[in-house]
């Protein structure tokens, strides 16, 4: 384990040293009207955390992709600035004797997430335990699912939480990771069999049925999540991950199309069965039909986009409160993208999406350079889990699709999401580290 320089990562992280504290100061000045930078402790701690992660990767000889961490740190920096400038009441956690505000809590989760990322990136040297025990992982995921259905608490008619003492956790996030690992393991092994066609169903050419069955099982489980948890956003995300990985393994667009058609059919059933799904879809079609009732948050989010315009209202200048309350109650979690778009404008919102695309492209690059099929499938699955999640929530915010309650990775308030997202980055770093080692070995051998 020799220290290696990570010069690109270092250079790309440096602007944050200025930008994040500046963002905190600007919002403080805009809101208080006083010309002082205000408390910068959280900003400095945040930047220190990211630089610390850089140092840890460097000292442990991590050779993984150098753009992932700076991109993620910048996205997270935007999120921290926004969360710090919002009213802190309401969200946060109550530890014995002390209440941590929203931004402080989020920073705490950042610390945990970044630590987990470094631990995974450095410690994950052998993927055997993932690859060989894929069915065990699948079983663990299924168990978690069952536990959630049995003991979970319901929020917003859909979201399911498991509580350990005062700290809530969304098992969906962990299940997402397990799902990716299992599908990657299974597809890497059976890829050639699935890609070849030997069974026919009408005009469709299908792979041999025994290999198709576990795939169908995954699909059925995803649809069960739709029906039982009534959480369309998570279901769409899981299905999207599954179909994308299937496409990567087989190159068949027809699988994706069939899967999506089945999802639309399933959603239609959910629309018929569940009131809250119906409300969500109706609001999507016309939020102004009931602008002060069920369409309220959607309408308010559209207003936020409209107020932002091209250049934004400026950090700290937007989001008018009505007698001290935010117009959008779920702003820190589900509508954080609307808040960013209001204060930083179209330009800022597009920049944020572009940063996510940077992460996605580095992830896909990692997959293309991966040394074996399993690593490649794993990298694609992890990458797409971040990319699709961003797409689904952003598209829901701008009303391209019905709104679903999932988080904007690295930006939304929420510990489970942050921790999982950082583990994803850690795994990507580990995969690209191993392919970097391989290519070095090849160069030395030649």
């Amino acid at each position: 384990m020799h220290a290696v320089p990570r010069p690109v990562e270092m250079r790309m992280l440096l602007p944050l040293v200025v930008l994040v504290p500046l963002g905190f100061a600007v919002t403080h000045i805009a809101q208080s009207g006083a010309l002082d930078p205000g408390p910068l402790g959280l900003a400095i701690a945040y930047v220190g955390l990211m630089l610390g992660a850089h140092l840890a990767l460097r000292l442990t000889g991590q050779r993984g992709d150098q753009l992932l961490l700076p991109a993620v740190a910048t996205i997270g920096g935007v999120g921290m600035v926004m969360l710090n400038r919002l009213p802190q009441g309401g969200l946060g956690i109550d530890l014995p004797g002390v209440h941590l505000g929203m931004a402080t809590t989020q920073l705490l989760w950042f610390a945990i997430g970044v630590s987990a990322m470094v631990a995974v990136a450095v410690g994950f040297r052998d993927d055997g335990f993932l690859r060989h025990y894929k069915y065990t992982w699948a079983l663990a995921g299924a168990l978690l699912l069952v536990l959630t259905f049995l003991f979970g608490r319901e929020v917003n008619g859909a979201r399911l939480w498991l509580y350990l003492g005062p700290i809530g956790f969304q098992p969906g996030e962990a299940i997402k990771l397990v799902l990716v690992i299992f599908i990657a393991g299974y597809l890497a092994e059976k890829r050639s069999l699935l890609a070849g066609a030997s069974a026919r169903l009408g005009p469709l050419r299908l792979p041999p049925l025994p290999y198709l069955l576990p795939m169908l099982a995954i699909f059925v489980i995803v649809m069960l999540i739709v029906v039982i948890s009534r959480d369309l956003g998570t279901a769409l995300l899981f299905l999207g991950i599954f179909l994308t990985m299937l496409f990567i393994a087989t190159g068949r667009r027809s699988y994706v199309l069939i899967g999506l058609l089945l999802f639309v059919a399933g959603s239609f059933v959910a629309y018929q069965l569940y009131e809250h799904v119906r409300v969500r879809v109706d609001n999507w079609i016309d939020p102004f039909a009931d602008p002060s009732g069920t369409g309220y948050q959607t309408v308010q989010a559209l207003y936020a986009f409209g107020r932002g315009g091209i250049f934004g209202e400026g950090l700290g200048q937007g989001l008018p409160t009505i007698s001290g309350h935010l117009p959008i109650p779920a702003l820190p979690t589900d509508f954080i993208f609307a808040a960013v778009a209001e204060e930083l404008g179209l330009i800022g919102a597009l920049a944020l999406l572009a940063l996510v695309l940077v992460v996605v492209f580095r992830g896909l690059r990692t997959a293309m350079l991966a040394r074996d099929d399993f690593s490649a499938m794993l990298a694609v699955g992890l990458t797409i889990s971040l990319g699709l999640q961003t797409l689904i929530i952003a598209a829901g915010n701008v009303k391209v699709i019905p709104l679903t309650w999932i988080t904007f990775p690295f930006v939304s308030y929420g510990g489970s999401s942050l921790l999982t997202s950082f583990v994803v980055i850690g795994l990507l770093l580990a995969i690209s580290h191993r392919s970097a080692l391989d290519s070095e070995a090849r160069e030395q051998g030649s």
Partner: protein
């Protein structure tokens, strides 16, 4: 193999992000303005609550409405209840109406007529600057008309026929909006008092009043008939004198004449027929015009769809007027000849607003061109001290624009001549009544006009109508066209015509510098 698929995936992902970026651009650029002006936008609410809303002045710079901010809350004062419906109100609690609503984004300063300056303001995040409005209405004429209406329910609307500028528009009963446009906590009692009034003061009768026109409709019928060539001013109907006593049988329905009083039926052409206001003559004329042509001419005068007071994106809306049954924002085809014959003298399904009828009079006065009416003349920088008059800085001027031709100038001149006779001819003078004659006190000035008595079903007392314009003598350019309605007050000659005459005379006096 996997690498190829990953490249394809990257393409689809970029495509999906582009779709989201497109959605984002839609709300943030294309649709931003519409979102920004919606009444429940918290930004609008906050701006309205604390912004010093712009002032509103009359055509001569007299202050009509202004706001002051007291303890962070904007309080609006309305100085003249005669303007209550046209200006409307801007209440923190009860919303906005009238000009206050249509020009809300400019009055609160959320918008700027200059897109470049708006962009610069946005980039620099400048605080919105409220702007002031000047109306086309002259407070002196408005107050005069309101005083003439007195406690009657009804409306007066006067238009400059050449420009379309509204000179006065009064709806009675009125109200004072100051009580509920200030402190939201204290607003309810003042609001309840107006909202509970059974005579509906909130309704702007000029734009939203729906009335049967009665005989004033004969002006439109005459215009259509002369322009289409269906009749000439000399045309007579041989059976008409006999039908005056026996009734005119149209497809099984008998059109009866109203009481002619001392007038003996004779073989009338247009002028005497309009003077005595013969229903039977105009039923004949309507049938000569024919259903399709009648509808066509009605539409040319503005019937069958809503009229805008103002052009561009900011205007007051006038409810549509109909000559037949309404059908999806248009006039339905006439059901039969009976309906057409009755519509031609202003009964059957005909349903009009006072503004539409003032526009009919203005069109005849304007040589057959329908002027585009408007009520806000210009937008100005916010006056430092509104009580001392408006700022000299005009940011944007509004005008009615050219209007559009409905009938030829020759036909318009023939209608004008018949309308002069209808109030000044030997018989017309008797019908229009002594009241309208006050106008003729100004030497050398002629008036053109038509009275109306709109029969109402259910034994209700008829509405009294008058439309007209002045000066109407040959060679003169009319400077005012008017419509007056007094609800449920009986014959047109008794109530509406004198008020119409007095308001027109007052305007001519004001123009002469009196």
């Amino acid at each position: 193999m996997i690498a190829v698929n990953i490249r394809r995936l990257a393409f689809y992902l970029v495509l999906s992000f582009a779709v989201v970026a497109g959605g984002l651009s839609w709300w943030q650029v294309v649709d931003a303005q519409r979102l920004a002006t919606r009444q429940d936008n918290p930004q609008v609410i906050a701006a309205r609550r604390s912004a010093p809303r712009g002032a509103i002045f009359d055509a001569r710079g007299q202050l009509l409405a202004s706001s002051v901010v007291v303890e962070g809350t904007s309080r609006r004062t309305y100085l003249d209840p005669a303007f209550a419906q046209v200006i409307g109100y801007a209440s923190l609690r009860y919303g906005t109406t009238g000009v206050e609503r249509a020009w809300d984004d400019l009055l609160t300063g959320r918008a700027d007529p200059n897109p470049l300056r708006e962009l610069v303001d946005q980039v620099l995040a400048r605080k919105p600057e409220s702007k002031d409005l000047t109306l086309t209405i002259d407070k002196r004429l408005q107050d005069f008309a309101a005083a003439k209406l007195g406690k009657n329910q009804g409306a007066v609307v006067a238009i400059d026929p050449a420009t379309g500028a509204v000179l006065a528009m009064v709806s009675s009963p009125s109200f004072n909006a100051t009580g509920f446009s200030g402190d939201p906590e204290a607003a309810q009692a003042a609001w309840d008092a107006v909202a509970g009034d059974p005579h509906n003061p909130f309704v702007d009768r000029v734009r939203q009043g729906h009335y049967t026109p009665g005989s004033i409709m004969k002006v439109l019928t005459t215009a259509a008939a002369l322009d289409s060539g269906a009749i000439t001013p000399q045309t007579t109907f041989a059976d008409q004198p006999r039908q005056e006593t026996e009734g005119f049988l149209v497809d099984g329905f008998t059109v009866h004449e109203h009481g002619l009083g001392r007038i003996k039926p004779a073989l009338w052409n247009l002028s005497p027929a309009l003077q005595v206001s013969s229903n039977i003559f105009f039923a004949h004329v309507g049938l000569e015009v024919g259903a399709d042509r009648y509808l066509d001419y009605a539409r040319r005068f503005g019937f069958c769809s809503s009229i805008r007071l103002g052009t561009g994106t900011r205007y007051l809306t006038v409810d549509p007027s109909y000559v037949s049954a309404p059908a999806d924002g248009d006039c339905a085809a006439f059901a039969d000849r009976v309906e057409l014959a009755n519509a031609a003298y202003g009964q059957a399904q005909v349903d009009v607003t006072p503004l539409q009828m003032a526009l009919v009079a203005a069109t005849i006065a304007n040589g057959g061109v329908v002027p585009q009416p408007y009520v806000v003349r210009d937008l100005r920088a916010h006056a430092a001290s509104p009580a001392d008059g408006p700022s000299p800085t005009i940011l944007e001027s509004y005008a009615g624009g050219g209007g559009h031709r409905a009938i030829s100038s020759g036909a318009a001149a023939e209608v004008r001549s018949a309308m002069i006779d209808a109030v000044q001819g030997p018989i017309g003078k008797l019908y229009a009544g002594a009241g309208a004659v006050t106008l003729y006190g100004i030497s050398g000035v002629s008036t053109a006009g038509k009275t109306g008595t709109a029969e109402r079903s259910g034994g209700l007392s008829p509405h009294s109508w008058f439309i007209g314009f002045a000066p109407a003598q040959a060679g003169a350019t009319p400077s005012i066209a008017i419509a007056v309605i007094i609800e449920g007050s009986g014959d047109g000659n008794v109530r509406a015509a004198p008020i119409g005459g007095a308001v027109m005379a007052e305007w001519l006096k004001l123009l002469a510098g009196g």
